[in-house]
């Protein structure tokens, strides 16, 4: 039986079958890989570019960035303070979830995407204090609707910037390349 199978594999049909099998495997794997890179679904299709275009500063909605580790997601109260006065809020279907959340007093379940794993202790304040601007890491929000990371936020990316920031300063390099700066 095994022999006949091997023999069959040598024939054109068999070879095609092997080829198809490999193709299927590869495409499934690729699909799986692609899946991991997909942005999650957000409860509200939040248009960052519209808000930025109105001249709203990043820190207005994400004030935590200048004060501590987490930039934070604005409270619904804050959204509503403006949206309450905008006619479109009452009519637009896209804004219905916000209206419902505020009226129903239920929290909007955002899915943060600019995240680091638990074992990384990231602090926004230190980065802002060091003169970094939001867009250096988060990209050009004037072009984005739903936020997407402009690059993979991995350790190499962090470290690259840290090393560059240190430049020739030994003290700074030691501090910025120290494992204990981010991992504890």
């Amino acid at each position: 039986m095994i022999k006949t199978f091997f023999d069959w594999l040598k024939q054109p049909m068999g070879m095609i079958a092997v080829g198809i099998a490999f193709l299927v495997l590869f495409s499934v794997a690729a699909f799986g890989l692609y899946q991991t890179q997909q942005a999650p679904e957000q409860p509200i299709q939040f248009p960052h570019k519209t808000h930025v275009a109105f001249g709203i500063q990043c820190l207005y909605c994400h004030p935590g960035a200048s004060k501590g580790p987490s930039a934070g997601i604005p409270t619904q109260e804050k959204c509503w303070a403006c949206h309450n006065q905008i006619q479109k809020t009452q009519t637009s279907a896209l804004l219905a979830p916000l209206k419902d959340a505020v009226i129903g007093n239920t929290p909007i379940q955002w899915v943060p995407v600019a995240i680091v794993p638990d074992f990384v202790q990231f602090n926004h304040r230190a980065h802002i204090a060091a003169g970094r601007n939001c867009e250096e890491c988060h990209g050009d929000l004037t072009q984005m609707t739903i936020y997407e990371n402009p690059q993979v936020m991995n350790m190499g990316w962090c470290l690259n910037c840290h090393v560059e920031a240190a430049g020739e300063d030994q003290e700074k390099l030691i501090k910025l390349s120290d494992c204990g700066t981010c991992h504890y």
Binding site: K3, N154, G156
Partner: protein, 474 residues
């Protein structure tokens, strides 16, 4: 005169019976015998043993490991302070086993010890299969084995490399090197034999051997290349072999612990490895001799006798190194080392310390000095079993028992193995399984090497004396 002649004939017959090299068979016949030993239909006993071992391996090795990966190392017996337990015992043990293969086939080949010829393959297989078990044992031991690839040096975005200060990094590289080189060294002398098997088999076996033989046809050029390659490997693998076990010993010797921090550990471990390895070879030879067809022709009492002598010498060397290590550390006078030595001998597992000395020294010395007993295969195999148990005890004393005693008496605690036991048994059964499978797939006897030896050996008469001559082949 006739008497003399008779006597001479007798002596010659005796020599032929005793020495494989002087007892040539026609090539075809011998090839036939090897093929038969390999391709004969396995008996129900074989399948029964195979099935039982498979079940034990599936449970002991794979299922238990799966449980341990899912649950964490808590299911094992490791604790503070015995952070390393039977896992490391088994790692060292299996690396030790793997040493005999290289020793027999490389060192004896380099020194042209002729008795090696029929069992170099059996020994080399042990090297490779033993290393597989060692690998299993060391990966089992890791808390997060799924990240073990971090120990490999490869460029990555994190800009991180493994720590080359760590003996474990050297260990990993040494074992990997040894596994690769010993596998190649196993493969090179196998080529002419699988080529022979290819020419004598049909069906899937033919395909299998065809792939393995790499198109070897036995031309003069091929032989020259093969011999060159084997020579290079035989010389190159010897330092690798010595380094591997030395490096394994550094896992302990480089650590800042009473009882471990000893400069003699390198050679002591190498000798210990050879000790258990030779014991294991003798067991394997005894088993294949009694279970496989035609093997009594290839493996004879003379081989047990020769290996027995080696075992005796190694046992003496081991005893010397043991004493050396013990004495030097004892005279060091460190209070923790003294405490540890006391614990070795008088602690709850003190019997193990005495058993180690009896099994490793007393029993081999008592039995192997006698040529007659040395030539009794089953007896030498039993000594081999004792030595292997003794050497396992030795590693057990070095790893978990020594770990019990440290510089913080508040933390001393005994080690009680848990899931290590099925895992350890699983490696043993997997080793046997691999060997059983190999015995049915590749020629266990390097036929070409035996034939080469037989060609080189001749009984010549100088006057009345029958003398064995060996011609230089290369």
């Amino acid at each position: 005169m006739a008497d003399h002649k008779n006597h001479a004939e007798h002596a010659e017959a005796h020599l032929r019976e005793k020495h494989l090299m002087l007892d040539p068979l026609p090539r075809g016949k011998m090839n036939e015998m090897v093929m038969e030993s390999m391709t004969e239909k396995p008996t129900w006993k074989f399948w029964l043993v195979f099935a039982v071992l498979s079940v034990i391996t599936a449970y002991g090795l794979f299922y238990s490991w799966g449980v341990m990966i899912a649950e964490g190392l808590g299911v094992a017996g490791v604790n503070r302070p015995a952070y390393w337990g039977i896992f490391l015992v088994n790692t060292v043990f299996w690396i030790g086993i793997s040493h005999a293969g290289t020793f027999i086939s490389a060192i004896l080949r380099v020194f042209k010890a002729e008795f090696r010829r029929p069992f170099t393959r059996a020994a080399e297989l042990m090297t490779t299969f033993g290393l597989v078990q060692a690998g299993f044992s060391i990966f089992m031991h890791m808390g997060r084995v799924w990240l073990s690839y971090w120990l490999m040096p490869y460029p990555n975005q994190r800009m991180l490399w493994p720590n080359f200060h760590s003996p474990l990094s050297w260990d990993l590289l040494a074992i990997t090197t040894y596994l690769l080189s010993s596998t190649m060294y196993l493969f090179l002398p196998l080529i002419p034999d699988v080529a022979m098997a290819r020419d004598r088999s049909t069906g899937w076996r033919k395909t299998f051997y065809k792939v393995l033989a790499l198109g070897f046809r036995g031309t003069e050029g091929e032989w020259t290349h093969l011999r060159n390659a084997m020579n290079i490997f035989a010389f190159a693998i010897i330092p690798v072999m010595f380094s591997v076990h030395t490096i394994v010993s550094w896992d302990f010797a480089a650590a800042m612990r009473p009882g471990w921090n000893s400069t003699i550990f390198g050679p002591y471990f190498v000798v210990g490895a050879l000790h258990s390895g030779m014991g294991a070879v003798i067991i394997v030879l005894a088993v294949i001799r009694s279970t496989m067809k035609h093997m009594k022709y290839f493996i004879r009492a003379e081989h047990f006798d020769a290996i027995g002598k080696l075992m005796l010498i190694i046992s003496m060397t081991w005893a010397y190194f043991f004493f050396n290590d013990y004495m030097v550390q004892w005279y060091g006078g460190d209070k923790w080392t003294k405490q540890l030595f006391h614990f070795h001998e008088a602690g709850p597992l003190g019997w193990m310390w005495f058993a180690m000395l009896i099994f490793n020294v007393a029993i081999p010395w008592a039995i192997l000095w006698n040529p007659k007993w040395r030539s009794t295969p089953w007896l030498v195999a039993v000594v081999g079993i004792f030595i292997n148990i003794g050497m396992w005890f030795e590693r057990y004393i070095i790893v978990p028992i020594s770990l019990t005693i440290n510089r913080m008496p508040f933390t001393w605690r005994l080690y009680e193995p848990g899931i290590e036991i099925p895992l350890g048994i699983g490696t043993l059964t997997f080793f046997i399984l691999l060997y059983m499978a190999a015995s049915k797939l590749i020629p266990l006897i390097p036929v070409w090497e035996v034939q080469e030896g037989q060609m080189a050996h001749e009984l010549k008469k100088f006057g009345r004396e029958t003398v064995v001559t060996v011609s230089e082949l290369e």
